[in-house]
């Protein structure tokens, strides 16, 4: 597993998405982690110092794994460009069909038309 800086991570993630267009999946995992072993954590805690937690981001296509870690300062910057990468590559998802929308709109109108006359009749 390679721990990268956030920007190279995004560029690697981009090429990972491009490699997996024909076949295969890409997994992206977010986890809160201190990036330290249990022993190291216990040491730090026994000394009285707090353990610093960061957001660990890992991505894999099943063959290669890359990762990066984000501090509380980094995450806003990262999440914006991460969203851009996702938006650029997730275009295989289905869009809502407009025909259906029109049909439902028409049926709504019809229903509305039916409803409207009744209050007039009552007056």
């Amino acid at each position: 597993m390679v721990l990268l800086q956030p920007d190279p991570f995004l560029s690697e993630l981009t090429s990972m998405y491009e490699r997996c267009q024909e076949k295969g999946s890409v997994w992206v995992t977010l986890k809160r982690s201190s990036l330290k072993s249990k022993a190291q954590k216990n040491k730090l805690e026994s000394k009285g110092g707090g353990v610093e937690y960061r957001c660990l981001v890992r991505a894999t296509d099943g063959k290669k794994t890359i990762s990066t870690s984000l501090s509380a300062k980094d995450h806003l910057r990262f999440q914006a460009s991460y969203a851009t990468v996702l938006r650029a590559h997730m275009h295989a998802l289905k869009k809502r069909e407009r025909k259906d929308k029109k049909k439902t709109a028409e049926s709504d109108k019809k229903q509305g038309d039916v409803k409207k006359p009744t209050p007039k009749a009552s007056h």
Binding site: S11, L30, R32, L70, A88, M90, L93, K94, K95
Partner: protein
Amino acid sequence: MVYIASWDEFVERSVQLFRANPQTSRYVMKYRHCDGKLVLKVTDNRECLKFKTDQAQDAKKMEKLNNIFFTLMARGPDADISEVSGKEQVEPQPSKKVQQFHLRKFLGYLDSSLPYHSMLSCFQDTNMQ
């Protein structure tokens, strides 16, 4: 382990799950381009919540959930997520500026490596707005 059908329920339960067990919980997003499928999973190794979709509109919802989890994981489980989980229109202007600044920086970075046409067009769209 069953897929949760309702998005709101999935978000609520997954945030609860993370807050109950921030050390062991993880959030996984799996995207399969060839089948056009997106699966979201949140688990603490005891309980597992999953959501599956093939709709483009759910990708936008996922973006919001991403932001919620980035905030929770980078700032801690007690972080305030009301700002991120709320509607996008409520977002203050400075964040947009930061985003644009970063986009430009990112663009420069990409220019120096490979020509990602799809991506560049996407950037142009965002700049137009």
